[in-house]
């Protein structure tokens, strides 16, 4: 038996259905009344806005409270450019999108330094300033009185290439633009760019450690999202022919956010459903007269309790983030790990690294080296500074003192994504994956740094982009086989037991084609069978000539694998050598017996 959600999802996402729907709107509109055509035009704009907000909030996890500002930028830009500067429609509309995008880019300026909540405040402030400026700048925007006589279908003074447009022509243009934009966004989301957005959303730190720049990615999300809103605004300007500041106030921004949340964050189809609801709702609510506020409020207050994942969660399957076309072309010829070319400089050298937090010294003058084809274990009691050291090496913390060199090049203090970009990868003590992604999508995230095709190529779904993705998908396949997770490759990660997540995280690091891997307690919580799989992967890394740093408490597991051992206690190196020597080292014995006996025997 197939669930109704599956049927509905297949139907709604079927290309034939989508084309039929577009055709029905395109050709059917001539039989509709003027009011219906107009409200459908509003619907298309609301869909564009909802998709824009979805890309920003649902995919990239950034909240915008100033969408009406971006929308208004586009509207006034196109309106003024056409009315005052006399630019043609085909120029003013792309410019509206560009100006919207520019404002989004500028608003996200402090993206590198502030967290999502503060960026939301930036957008809020932007939206409010926009409204104030529009209201006061009489000469340009018409001020509070508004801008009348914008070329529009109402006034019959809007023409494209000499053809005067009526409301139906205009609706058709808007339908086509909306469809094209959605197609582009859909492709974009199902590419490494969209996945990078989602990775930032799930964990900025983990994304950074895969080579995804957090500031740049957020900025990209704001720019594209605001560009789409600007485009919607441009199209709005020529529908009615009048622009007034009231149409772009905070209430409008909130309306867009509400539409997106109720539609189901992340789902493009959900956005369409939600836009339909919220476009027609006010009209339908008029029957409630003075109760309409209460009814509207109740819908907002309780819809999320009834529909935890929005309309999309109720009606549709969760969205996927890999293009089916790429999946079909993937093939099975992938390699899990490619041997790494080694050279004289091939080493990770940590020299006298110290990390202090306020008065607390977490890592104290630690030096160690990793070499190709060797596995080095980093052990020590809890709180001895192991994870902190990994955080310093991978660029999450800036060391207080000391230097780190990778292949002879200093990487001290570089941001995490740059370090990952050089082939130095890491995993986390608590697996930091994208819970809503499938195993395959999570793994593919690892390959992020290896992609060469641009966002535009991905959005246009150019053959080169599809081919590239297919190549990496083949590698993903190979890794799933190696890690023993091939049978769950298409299951969402959040539905899998803990052990799988560990394996996925290690596998994800492999897909980055690393030259060195830092594994932070990869065996914690694994079953015997899973541990065997993990050991197989780690050995494969060694065989391929990778440098491996392994933080682990599980001594039997460590003993089987490692070449060198470094023991930390209270942030200092107390032993460096082979495993036999460690067992006899008085310093190590004291450190363990002195602190916690159970720690050493800990599984």
């Amino acid at each position: 038996m197939i669930a109704p959600r599956t049927v509905l999802t297949r139907l709604l996402t079927h290309p034939a259905f989508i084309l039929a729907a577009i055709a029905a709107l395109f050709f059917g509109c001539s039989w509709l009344s003027g009011g219906t055509v107009q409200i459908l035009t509003f619907l298309m704009l609301n869909i564009l806005l909802a998709q824009s907000m979805n890309l920003l909030t649902g995919i990239a996890g950034q909240i915008s409270l100033g969408h009406a500002g971006f929308y208004g930028m586009g509207a006034y830009a196109s309106g003024i450019l056409m009315k005052t500067a006399g630019l043609p429609f085909v120029v003013s509309i792309p410019l509206a999108a560009a100006i919207g995008a520019l404002s989004g880019y500028l608003v996200s300026f402090p993206a590198g330094r502030v967290r999502e909540f503060y960026l939301a405040m930036m957008t809020l402030a932007f939206g409010l300033i926009f409204r104030e400026v529009v209201r006061e700048w009489d000469d340009l925007t018409g001020g509070a009185v508004g801008l009348s006589n914008v070329p529009s279908t109402t006034l019959k003074n809007l023409s494209v290439f000499g053809v005067t447009l009526d409301a139906i022509d205009y609706f058709r243009i808007v339908v086509i633009v909306t469809a094209i934009v959605m197609w582009l966004v859909h492709n974009f989301i199902q590419s490494r760019h969209g996945r990078a957005f989602y990775a930032i959303h799930a964990s900025e730190v983990a994304a950074g450690c895969l080579g995804i720049p957090r500031a740049g990615t957020k900025r990209q999300a704001y720019t594209i999202g605001a560009g789409m809103a600007g485009l919607a605004g441009g199209l709005y300007a020529h529908m009615i022919g009048y622009l007034g500041p009231e149409s772009f106030d905070l209430a409008r921004s909130i309306e867009v956010l509400v539409t997106t949340v109720v539609g189901g964050l992340g789902s493009m189809a959900g956005q369409i459903l939600s836009a339909i609801v919220f476009t027609f709702l006010p009209e339908k609510l008029q029957v409630f007269a003075q109760y309409q506020f209460i009814v509207y409020g109740a819908i907002l207050a309780f819809s999320l309790i009834l529909l935890p994942r929005g309309l999309a969660g109720l009606l549709l399957l969760p969205p996927r983030f890999i293009k089916p076309a790429s999946l079909r072309r993937a093939g099975t010829a992938g390699v899990a790990i490619r041997p790494v070319d080694s050279d004289r400089n091939a080493a990770l050298v940590v020299e006298g690294v110290t990390m202090r937090f306020g008065g607390l010294t977490a890592v104290d003058d630690v030096s160690l080296e990793l070499h190709p084809g060797r596995i080095t274990a980093l052990i020590g009691p809890n709180g001895s500074g192991k994870s902190t050291l990994v955080n310093v090496v991978s660029g999450i913390y800036q060391p207080t003192a000391g230097a780190i060199r990778f292949f002879g090049e200093s990487i001290t203090g570089l941001p995490d994504h740059r370090i990952a970009g050089k082939g130095l990868l890491r995993t986390f003590q608590d697996p930091r994956l994208v819970p809503r992604f499938t195993v395959r999508e999570n793994l593919l995230l690892g390959a992020h740094r290896r992609y060469r095709t641009s966002g535009l190529a991905a959005a246009l779904s150019l053959p080169s982009a599809v081919r590239e993705e297919a190549t990496f998908l083949a590698s993903v396949d190979a890794v799933t086989r190696m890690a023993g997770i091939a049978d769950v490759a298409d299951r969402p990660l959040e539905s899998l037991p803990y052990g799988y997540r560990r394996l996925v995280e290690v596998g994800r690091a492999l897909l980055a084609e690393p030259r060195a891997v830092l594994l932070d307690e990869p065996a914690a919580g694994l079953s015997e069978a899973e541990m065997a799989l993990l050991a197989r992967m780690i050995r494969a890394m060694k065989d391929a000539g990778l440098m491996v740093l392994l933080i682990e408490h599980h001594m039997d597991f460590v003993a089987e694998l490692v070449d060198d051992v470094v023991v930390l206690d209270s942030g200092r190196v107390i032993y460096h050598g082979d495993i036999e020597g460690m067992r006899k080292s008085p310093a190590v014995i004291e450190a363990y017996l002195g602190t916690s006996e159970t720690e050493a025997a800990h599984a």
Partner: protein, 406 residues
Amino acid sequence: MTLKRRELLSFTGAAAAGGTLGFARRARAADPIKVGFTTALTGPFNEFGEGYKRGIEIAIEKINKAGGVLGRPIEIGVMLDDQLIPDRSVQNMRRILDDKSIVGLFCPSGSGPTLAVIDMIAADGRPTMNPQAQTPTVIYPNGPGGKPRPNVYTFSIQNDIEANFMATLLAKKFTRIGLLNESTGYGKTGSELIKAGIAAANKDAVVTNESYNQKDQDMTAQLVRVQRARSEALMVVGLGADMAVIRKNMTRMNMTIPFFTSAGGLSPPYVEGAGDLAAGTKGSQFKKISTVPPAPETKEFLDAYKAKYGADRLWGTDPEVPTPSMGGTVATGYDGMLVMADAIRRAGTTEAAAVIKAMDATKGFLGCNCAYEFTPEKHHAIEIGDLTTYEFVKKDGRMTLVPTAI
């Protein structure tokens, strides 16, 4: 998507059905003559929408009691609520315009929504009454003095009329004048016209113009500027609730210069908000509606209103004499409906061009606010002579507006 398709089908169905029915109906003479409008029936500005809706309803009852027009009764065919949100006004108005059985239209309650729908209405061509929006460009797209939109007639106090009225009075008495306006179309055009009017009447006059946002809770900054300019009087273009905030703020700052407001300020929310501080506030408002004793045509309306709603909030505090702002909230709708019906009667048909021609020939039609007269060049009716100045005075323990001189 399925939802959308179903919607689509139902819309096409409804449109087709509406079309044929409309056609069949037009053939029968006893069918009602329909009017339609979208306005703020709920939400923060509902006193305006609710007011003119009542006016239209009372007018329709009067007309229908007398046998209707052309032997047909009048009814409200479509009445939609836009809460004064421009986009919603646009959607509602388009829906109304789609209904070809609607003969006459009324504009929304505010300048913003009205400007958003006015081109649509002009392109449609059906006779349209504008009961409340005051911005002159609603009627005269190229400013007062230019050619009006052929099918739109205003029953409100046009901003330029009110501004001229106040400017002349102010310029006569004061040379340094503080001018405050809300940052809306109404406030901004109003204050600009007043400024121009004052400059025209007195070249030496100094006007300090400041603006505030509706619902601002503190106006100290604006008032300090007015005070620093050593203004001898303060004139505010805005609505009642904000006016109360300003009045209280003046008191806190011990500002005692004479206080004048636009018509929007001489309204119940101002007295309610400012309480006893309202005493002494002056401004312009409709004259005829509060004249004692009322003219017969005004009395007829007032009696009907009182019978239906009593001396309620829109009526004001004096159970005998309505507050002049009722001329703007309720009577403009009433007058608009009566004048339109009269034009239809004279035209002998409901066909738009003929009704407009008859509207343009309206002369001496006695309404609650004035004697209406329209020509092809002049589509507003309220003139300076139809306004008067009032002052809030405390009488028998309650604030009332009494006619006064400035």
